[in-house]
């Protein structure tokens, strides 16, 4: 006779216990011992609310008898968000959806979400996830919009663009975590070994993986800093990452700012060399993110929390330099990245041939810091504004804080015993120029070459 009974049943008493949830301490103990607390959680929440509304049990009974349980339920649930309360109470409670499909593009950026599969991180959270290889970013966007994928590997700007309806139908997408930081590079065709100065790149054909990508924004930023207008002096094409090396070999491209392993693969196949690593443009820049439709987050709070924990565990694993060789081995087969192991190892360990005859050692060439800083989102928005992908006034902070789930990330990281940064925003430098997140509009206007 307690919260475990239906509080909308007028024939049953609703009494209190010491902990506030049960009729008595003994009942509380039984419920806990039964281990079935999760299943009863929603009823507990409802009971707590009903008890708060009707301190006298007799009043509750009278009220329910008078109006009927279903009317009472409708009236009360319109005032009090039971669903949200239940989600908050359940947290580690029952999963709404266990079989999930997650899309990925075969690049090293996706390492954490792929590694979580063979390492059993999804299973540990009770999820049955298939990670599905996808042909390109536009298809990722379409399959997420079609609900074929429950969540997906996405470029960091994609959720912002999709939420704003830039280049797609507007569909609110959240960024749960950043998938990876650094790990990209500008690769040039071997015939351009003597053209290391970007000023000599007039008329070059470059590729980026998608319009709404860090690659596009960083390449534009880089050439613009060297005085070239990315829309007039060079050509930027969208080419899916897996097709970049083939196009470079065929001479369709002079170079690309692409994701690894395709930079290293071009070196390995002796068709390209690494001009500059993206970490040398912006140390610790985000690249890809783990995107989840906002609807999915709302409808499946427990599944989302479980997924979140799995992905964060995988990110922590991927950050450890000790694991990098093993990762290269696991990711190499056809089911995942389908690349020679030595190529992946060079990308992940940071000891690599640069295509110019040198062996370089850059341990943080690729990193997997999952924390979704709002300031990253604001920077991305400034570049979308700068290059005319979005017009008009942008409420930078509002959009960043709506799309990037920083507080959730902090909470889930705490659950897993990880330390998250205390700040929500941070200043950083891109090619030596400081970005002040509090003055995004001034930042956009400070550039000489821009479209807005």
């Amino acid at each position: 006779m307690s919260s475990l009974n239906n509080p909308f049943d007028p024939d049953r008493p609703l009494s209190r216990c010491s902990c506030g949830n049960h009729g008595s301490q003994s009942e509380h103990d039984i419920a806990v011992a039964a281990g079935d607390v999760d299943a009863l959680n929603s009823r507990v929440v409802q009971s707590v609310v009903m008890r708060a509304l009707f301190p006298q049990d007799a009043e509750r009974r009278k009220f329910l008898s008078a109006v009927g349980a279903s009317t009472a339920w409708a009236a009360i649930s319109s005032l009090i968000p039971f669903g949200t309360l239940e989600a908050m109470a359940q947290e580690k409670g029952s999963l709404e959806k266990k079989d999930l499909k997650i899309g990925f593009i075969p690049i090293t950026c996706a390492s954490p979400l792929i590694m979580a599969d063979p390492l059993g991180f999804y299973k540990k959270q009770g999820l049955n996830v298939s990670v599905i290889k996808t042909a390109g970013w536009a298809l990722i966007r379409d399959k997420v919009q079609n609900r074929e994928y429950d969540a997906s590997h996405m470029l960091a700007p994609m959720p912002l663009a999709m939420s704003m309806g830039a280049g797609s139908n507007p569909m609110p997408i959240n960024v749960a975590t950043i998938q990876n930081t650094n790990g990209q590079a500008i690769t040039l065709h071997v015939k351009h070994k003597d053209k290391r100065d970007p000023k000599m790149w007039k008329g070059f054909k470059f590729a980026v993986p998608f319009e709404y990508s860090m690659h596009n924004f960083l390449l534009r930023y880089y050439v613009a800093e060297h005085g070239l207008d990315p829309d007039k002096d060079i050509q930027i094409r969208v080419v899916p990452p897996p097709e970049m090396v083939a196009n470079l070999r065929a001479g369709n491209l002079d170079g690309y700012l692409g994701p690894d392993p395709f930079n290293q693969r071009a070196v390995y196949d002796e068709v390209g060399f690494l001009h500059i690593l993206s970490k040398d443009l912006w140390e610790g820049h985000p690249c890809c993110s783990f995107g989840v439709p906002a609807d999915f987050v709302k409808q499946n709070p427990n599944t989302f929390a479980a997924l979140y924990r799995a992905v964060l565990t995988a990110a922590a694993m991927a950050r450890d330099p000790k694991n990098r060789s093993l990762m290269a081995e696991v990711l190499s087969p056809a089911n995942y990245l389908n690349q020679p192991k030595t190529v992946l190892e060079q990308v992940l360990t940071g000891k690599f041939a640069d295509g110019l005859g040198n062996v370089q050692n850059v341990p943080n060439r690729a990193d997997f810091d999952p924390f979704p800083w709002y300031s990253m989102a604001v920077w991305i928005l400034t570049q979308m504004k700068r290059w005319g992908y979005v017009k008009g006034d942008i409420r930078y902070k509002d959009i960043a804080e709506k799309v990037y789930l920083l507080t959730d990330a902090r909470k889930r990281m705490a659950e897993l015993g990880m330390t998250a940064p205390k700040a929500d925003y941070q200043k950083f430098k891109v090619m030596g120029k400081e970005f002040d997140y509090s003055k995004p509009e001034a930042y956009v206007n400070s550039f000489a070459i821009k479209r807005s």
Partner: protein, 278 residues
Amino acid sequence: MNRLTLKAAFLSAILFAVFIGAWHLATLPTGGAVSAADAEYAKLMGAGAQKSDGFPPPAEIGKAFVHYLSDPMYDKGPNDKGIAIQLGYSLLRVAIGFAIAIVIAVPVGFLIGMSPLAMKALDPFIQVLKPISPLAWMPLALYTLKDSNVSGIFVIFICSIWPMLINTAFGVASVRRDWINVARTLEVNPLRKAFLVILPAAAPTILTGMRISMGIAWLVIVAAEMLVGGTGIGYFVWNEWNNLALPNVIFAITMIGLVGMVLDLLFGWLQKLVTYRE
């Protein structure tokens, strides 16, 4: 006749041997010097390992054949399945799209063929829709059907419907008037006339349409699967292209050719079944 077949087979074998031989000679390793002297650099560049520089020699492709055909049914997760499973997915998509096309094209073709008015009225639509590349429908299909699998099937459907429709209409329209007149004289009811007079008479033309459609469908499924990915022989080609693994791509191309030939032979045989002499 039999001697000729034997001779032709012999000539085919010789041509094949010459082709492989020339290929082998053209792709002999040139003993290329390693580009860097530094041993560590050379190792990172994959010296000694089998790399994909240049066109692969026939022996490499032979290895790919042995590798994939020795275990055609393996299933290592959603992104890596055996060649038989991949071909099965492609064939299944083609079969479904093709079946839907038959269900629509044959009755509509009948209608158009029997009624000159319908033929005239529908002709402009058919003429505009026919030359559209089936893959051009893909973005539209993905957007409206909201399922990549269904979109693949839709693309097969839309590419196989036109030859069938046009051939059925043509076959039905060109049934000899004498036969229809005889049927009329004998007061055969329309349904019986359609099934027992017109259908057998038009069957060879209809089957020709189907044979053309199947050829196109098999061409298109590969491209469609390369676009959409997931499963199927087209996805297999795309996945191996990512890895720049040309021997595997060539292996897949050969398989596509062989399956296409079998499909064509099948329809050739069906066509023979319904052919009649006047």
